[in-house]
Amino acid sequence: MRFKNTHLLLALAAFFCTRAYAGNYEDLTKDFVYGDAGVQSISVMSFGPEGILFLGDSKAGKIIALDMGDRTRNDSKEAFNMNDVEGKLAALMGADPKGVVIHDMAVNPLSQNIYLAVSRADANQLGYWKMPNDLGYATVLLRINPAGEITQVDLGSISHSATEVPRVVREGTENWRKSDNRTEAVTDIAYDNGQLYVAGLSNEEFASVLRIIDFPFGKQAASYSTIEVWHVAHGKSETEAPIRTLLPYELNGEKVIIATYTCTPFVTIPVSQLKNGQHVKSTTLGEFGFGNMPIDIIKYRNSEGHDGILMSNMSKAVIRVKPEDILKQKTPLTEPLKDDEYTVGVHHDVLSIVGVTQIDNLNEANVLLLSRMPNGSLALRSYPTRNL
């Protein structure tokens, strides 16, 4: 040992800090291998425990778990703000500010490091019905630390584990938004208690599916349910449109998946019904307005201990839903929208927070928003949960 004393102390401290989490971490990553993670597209991403980031890769038809080596706990309640995110990413990636597109954002709940999935694509092509994943596949993963330093994650040399998403929709067919259906093979992913919930399109006749994949990835194939939704604004049951964003949630002691779709049904699916090979009818509890694509959904707890759900949208301001209001909606919606109706079902608030695409929990006191500002620039900004 050639450490000086202080170094030795630091090393010991680091060792014991790591040990504090070690048991779970080692179990979760024992099958991980180091090398090229084989990422073809970061379509969606979401953090699990112990700094493990899950990527939904529509192009490869895989879920890839990355050990971000990012397990230093940060209990800060500070806000994080960054102006002109596009300008900064453009400088880093050697492009014009309109030459970079952010596909998804995830905050590591342990460290509060922010991760962005990015591509060098033509942002001028984005539209209300043209999402980043419709323009191209993101293959760049950037990390922003609480000090605002941006670095690139080397996906070619990283500890990882991957599993195939069974029966993903094949490439070569087009959806109504003139994008290849394959770009929606995985539309959202969420980790909850040892399981990944993966929404997207399959190659089945009923294309919209919700898969449950055990993590750590085993030899067991994913469980797989086709999902039907009563679409109030369209006035019909649909099986082809994918869930856009989902959230595992406990309502009155029952584990459900809260999910939303384009144009904008708000539904629940009891996890107990998600049995492999079953066709499941979701329960539509709200219609939040047609002409809109939901982008992200998160749950938060404010400083008074009240829980809530936030949804970001392509064409609407951020929506807040309170769990007690979901429970108040005792009967599912089964009728088409009437001529003079716009939103029906679960009570929800459309907040004074506009221009938000990506949303995630930053820390106990703040949620983080990727937000188009009134001056046209794109900013990362914090919103205090005490105001929610």
Binding site: M93, P166, R167, E204
Partner: protein, 368 residues
């Protein structure tokens, strides 16, 4: 500002004699495509006393997309590789042809600025079509798609106007291909997938009933690829390429892994394992749709070769075969030329049965 930089440089010159060699520092772009560092920016003439140190190169040797105006401007991401008196900046994202990049050096290098312009490459090589898959001269009448492999990355958005299908009298077929807004290229932009219009292949769908299938059985056809199709750098193919094929009957049978002949290799050799399908399979699916697992149930490493006319698949193991039972796992997405995959025939009536088929199909071989 300028004065400050000069005075700082002067201080360094006084304190660190090694920097008296600063006039030898040179910066250039590695332009030779055969150089393993092609596309990186090379800084040379640094004293090895410096390169031997553990220096934060991303601070000392910064490359900017736009000339920096303030300290807050961010340099481009990249990796740094030190070798003798040289440091390579390897950009995380390829530099753009015709663009000028701005370089700033600072401590422990002398404060200085450089510009590197990236020339517009004019490679003498014209793009070529290397292969059209399937390579066989006979395609089923319900052929689903084909692949065109090019020698160089091609320009996006030109495919449909440069591919033509003619019947034996030279009459062009009417809109036989699926025209998606998005062309289906591999990541290197060198292999294009072209689909025949699936709506016209699948029985009872409206396009099929109205226009008929794109190909008829027992005919001769000619694919013509136009000489005007451009590579990514704008250089056209230069010569028309034609590919003639005849059609056989429709193929509505699922490929059955149980019917394929397997040729187990001998233990302790690295002889290839061969799967003979007995008919042609889809080329691209064969590249990653079959995995070999060793007797310990670990994926075996090796090299894949696809046999003539895509009728066979060979696996050359990296390490010799061990005695025992190897397992071959087939993705359900493996398909034949007509798009029939292991789960179902392309033209099969929709199944009401919602039971999930297996995640993969399996055969085993005994290596002795």
């Amino acid at each position: 500002m300028k004065i400050r930089i000069r005075s700082l440089a002067f201080l360094f010159l006084l304190s660190l004699p090694v920097l008296s060699q600063s006039d030898q520092i040179q910066i250039r772009l590695v332009e030779d495509p055969d150089d393993p560092h092609f596309g990186s920016i090379l800084l040379t003439g640094i004293d090895t006393v410096i390169t031997a140190k553990d220096i934060e190169w991303k601070a000392a040797f910064r490359v900017y997309y736009r000339a920096p105006e303030s300290d807050g401007d961010l340099p481009m991401l990249g990796k740094y590789q030190v070798s003798g008196q040289s440091v390579f900046y390897i950009p995380s994202f390829p530099l753009v042809q015709g663009k000028v990049y701005h370089i700033r050096l600072s401590s422990p290098l002398p404060e200085s600025g450089f510009e590197v312009s990236v020339p517009v490459l004019t490679t003498p090589e014209t793009p070529k079509i290397e292969q059209i898959y399937p390579t066989s001269g006979q395609w089923p009448a319900n052929q689903l798609k084909f692949y065109i492999a090019f020698s160089r990355p091609m320009r996006y958005g030109q495919a449909m106007e440069h591919i033509r299908l003619e019947d034996e009298n030279g009459n062009p077929a009417e809109a036989p291909f699926l025209d998606l807004g998005q062309e289906l290229w591999d990541p290197g932009q060198r292999r294009l997938t072209v689909w025949f219009d699936p709506g016209r292949i699948k029985s009872l769908l409206i396009p099929n009933l109205e226009k008929g299938p794109p190909l008829l059985p027992n005919r001769k056809y000619r694919l013509v690829i136009s000489k005007d199709w451009q590579a990514a750098d704008g250089r056209p193919l230069g010569e028309d390429m034609t590919r003639e094929f005849t059609t056989g009957p429709k193929d509505n049978d699922k490929p059955a892994p149980g019917d394929w002949s397997l040729d187990p290799p001998q233990a302790h050799t690295t002889a290839p394992l061969m799967i003979n399908f007995g008919y042609a399979m889809d080329y691209a699916m064969l590249l990653d749709g079959i995995a070999v697992y060793d007797p310990g149930n670990r994926p075996a490493e090796g090299r894949i070769e696809i046999g003539p006319e895509e009728r066979s698949w060979l696996f050359y193991p990296e390490s010799p075969w061990q005695p025992g039972r190897y397992s071959l796992r087939f993705s359900p997405d493996l398909e034949d030329l007509a798009g029939n995959n292991l789960d179902r025939a392309f033209d099969a009536a929709p199944s009401k049965n919602q039971i999930s088929p297996p995640a993969f199909y399996e055969r085993t071989i005994e290596v002795k």
